[in-house]
């Protein structure tokens, strides 16, 4: 009996638990990356005991990989040497940690996953409890294989309606951020559900769990269903049978209802995720760099959407357009299905996978005074490089339309033209018969 997070933890500890209780729980996987692992190693070594379950420790190289400078290289050498010495075999350098975690099968409903990264919340899209922890805390958990936590209260976000043409899940999440505010769910779980979520494919559902971090939430959760299981079976290495956990007579701290039917494209304005405005109010604002990628919107479906808008057109010559796939698997599929060619032909650069421009260290750093339009999840001051640069957040479609125009642009007219062309092509006979034409 309880909210989804209470159900997950009840199953984990084998007795009913309720919000506010403090628990010690077994952890399935402990994730860290090239930025956070060195600190975790420091805390681990201060204890001076062995790693209890080396098979549960997962290291990723994604924040600055391949290493762009000597310091990053030295950190990564430290991690590899440590992994070798400790018998840690889960080393990945094939994409953004949060994408690779589910691709490689570490994520499944009902699991408990700790990560030394704030967007560890992402895996909650698959009905598991995944939360970000401090780096040193993660190193501590290697010793015990467990962690302590306080069962969080839950805010339910109930989403209904169908999206209007040219409006996407990202726009909905930005509207949720505007409604709850940054810090609006501090230390709480945010449970996303309702008919809108039920009908949503997995790649779009991931956005909601991912950006629950921006609300201050400990975790963001979506109950697993047939859509979740099909995705896990077809697109990840996870093996069933999968736990089916759902809220049972839940007692929510707060319930927020949002009907998406009348929503328009949204933009989160610099420097807060919750200063959200209709995109049309910002139309015409010059943009120096468009960035399509990240753990929020760097998946294959995002790339298909952006490429459909850019296909056969040219991005504005004064605007840099950077496309960074969320993983090597996404990149491979983009190559196979011709998307890389589409982006290149349009004048965009497709980089190797990784966190890239999103952390302002390489792969698209901003200069003072520049403005970026991105598909990222946060837009703090200095996030992409210069503290005097500005960052705006929107959907991949809005980003692609903006890349073509060189200023913030509404994707809907372009999408409408594409839809009309597709309809005309479908209506026209496949091969024109000269007799019939005459």
């Amino acid at each position: 009996m309880g909210t989804l997070v209470e159900e997950i933890l009840t199953r984990r500890v084998g007795r009913p638990v309720a919000a506010g209780e403090m628990l010690i729980v077994d952890v399935d996987f402990m994730m860290s990356h090239d930025n956070t692992t060195p600190l975790a190693i420091g805390a681990f070594e201060a204890i001076g005991k062995p790693i209890r379950h080396p098979e549960r420790v997962v290291f990723h190289f994604d924040h600055a990989y391949p290493a762009p400078n000597i310091q990053a290289a030295a950190n990564q050498k430290l991690i590899r040497d440590f992994a070798r010495a400790q018998g840690i075999r889960n080393l990945f350098a094939q994409g953004i940690c949060h994408q690779v975690m589910f691709e490689e099968g570490f994520v499944a409903p009902g699991r408990v996953i700790m990560g030394a990264d704030s967007h560890t919340n992402t895996y909650g899209a698959f009905g598991c409890l995944a939360a970000g922890f401090g780096s040193s805390e993660l190193g501590v958990s290697w010793v015990s294989g467990r962690t302590w936590l306080r069962v969080p209260e839950t805010i339910r976000v109930e989403l209904t309606g169908e999206l209007p043409f040219g409006v996407y899940a990202k726009d909905v999440m930005l509207e949720v951020a505007a409604t709850l505010g940054m810090g609006g769910a501090t230390y709480m779980a945010v449970e996303f559900g309702g008919p809108f979520i039920d009908a949503l494919p997995m790649p779009d559902r991931i956005i909601f769990a991912n950006m629950s971090t921006e609300l201050g939430a400990k975790c963001g959760l979506l109950a697993a269903d047939a859509t979740t299981e099909r995705f896990l079976e077809q697109h990840t290495k996870a093996e069933g049978p999968f736990a089916r956990l759902a809220p049972v007579d839940p007692d929510y701290a707060r319930v927020v209802h949002l009907d998406v039917s009348a929503l328009t494209p949204r933009v989160a304005c610099h420097p807060r995720v919750d200063t959200v405005r209709p995109l049309t109010e910002l139309e015409g604002m010059p943009i120096d760099q468009v960035f399509i990628g990240t753990c929020t919107n760097g998946r294959f479906e995002d790339m298909v959407l952006a490429a459909s808008i850019l296909r056969g057109k040219q991005v504005d010559p004064y605007t840099r357009t950077i496309v960074t796939p969320a993983s090597r698997a996404v990149h491979d599929r983009m190559i196979r299905e011709g998307l890389v060619e589409v982006f290149h032909a349009a004048g965009a650069v497709v980089t190797g996978t990784g966190c890239g421009a999103c952390i302002g260290r390489h792969g698209g750093v901003l200069a003072p005074g520049e403005k970026a339009f991105t598909t990222m999840n946060r837009n703090f001051v200095g996030r992409m490089g210069s503290a005097e640069a500005e960052i705006y957040l929107g959907s991949p479609a809005a980003a692609a339309a903006t890349a073509l125009a060189g200023h913030v642009a509404d994707p809907r007219p372009l999408l409408a033209a594409l839809a009309a062309a597709a309809a005309a092509a479908a209506a026209a006979p496949a091969v024109l018969d000269p007799e019939a034409v005459r």
């Binding site: 201060a46 501590v140 015990s144 467990r146 810090g183 501090t186 230390y187 201050g216």
Partner: protein, 163 residues
């Protein structure tokens, strides 16, 4: 005689310990700069056994562990607040700083002489006998705090002992 120190809502980690002092993790050294910008008399006057009273979202802002370490270095007995920012809450337990979640923290008088029962979750003003309810601190949290943090705790023990 111990005293209380009252702070408002949303006390952030930059106020607790400004970033420029985060070059060390030595508790005594950090304690010399605790609240030095917003309450300059605090580092000089705070005494072991004092109690900090906060409002909502105490310890918000960056995830720096230096903030609870600095407060621990002052020797205060406990931070009592209506609520804590998530990472501060975790960091406090892990570095061994006692904290109590007390919805009525705002009604505790400034001149109270407080005693704290962590196990029962009771804060008592010894002058008047008035008691304030707080969330009880579970045995494992008390054990971690008694060991002065989770790293020293794990050196000697195992989390399994607390299950």
């Amino acid at each position: 005689m111990s005293r209380t120190w009252r702070f408002g809502d949303d006390v952030n980690t930059d106020e607790i310990i400004p970033g420029r002092y985060n070059l060390t993790i030595d508790p005594t050294e950090l304690a010399q700069h605790a609240f030095c910008e917003v309450r300059p008399e605090f580092p000089q006057q705070v005494a072991p056994g004092d109690v900090l009273l906060g409002g909502r979202n105490f310890g918000c802002g960056s995830s720096r562990e230096h903030a609870p370490i600095a407060l621990k270095g002052t020797g205060i007995r406990c931070v009592v607040a209506e609520s804590f920012a998530r990472i501060f809450f975790r960091n406090a337990v892990n570095v061994g700083l006692a904290i109590m979640i007390c919805p009525d923290a705002a009604s505790i008088p400034d001149d109270a002489e407080l005693s704290v029962d962590f196990e029962a979750g009771v804060i008592r003003d010894e002058r008047t006998g008035v008691e304030y309810r707080a969330e009880p601190m579970p045995a494992f949290v008390r054990a971690i705090i008694a060991a002065e943090g989770i790293v020293p705790f794990l050196r000697e023990h195992d989390l399994d002992e607390l299950l």
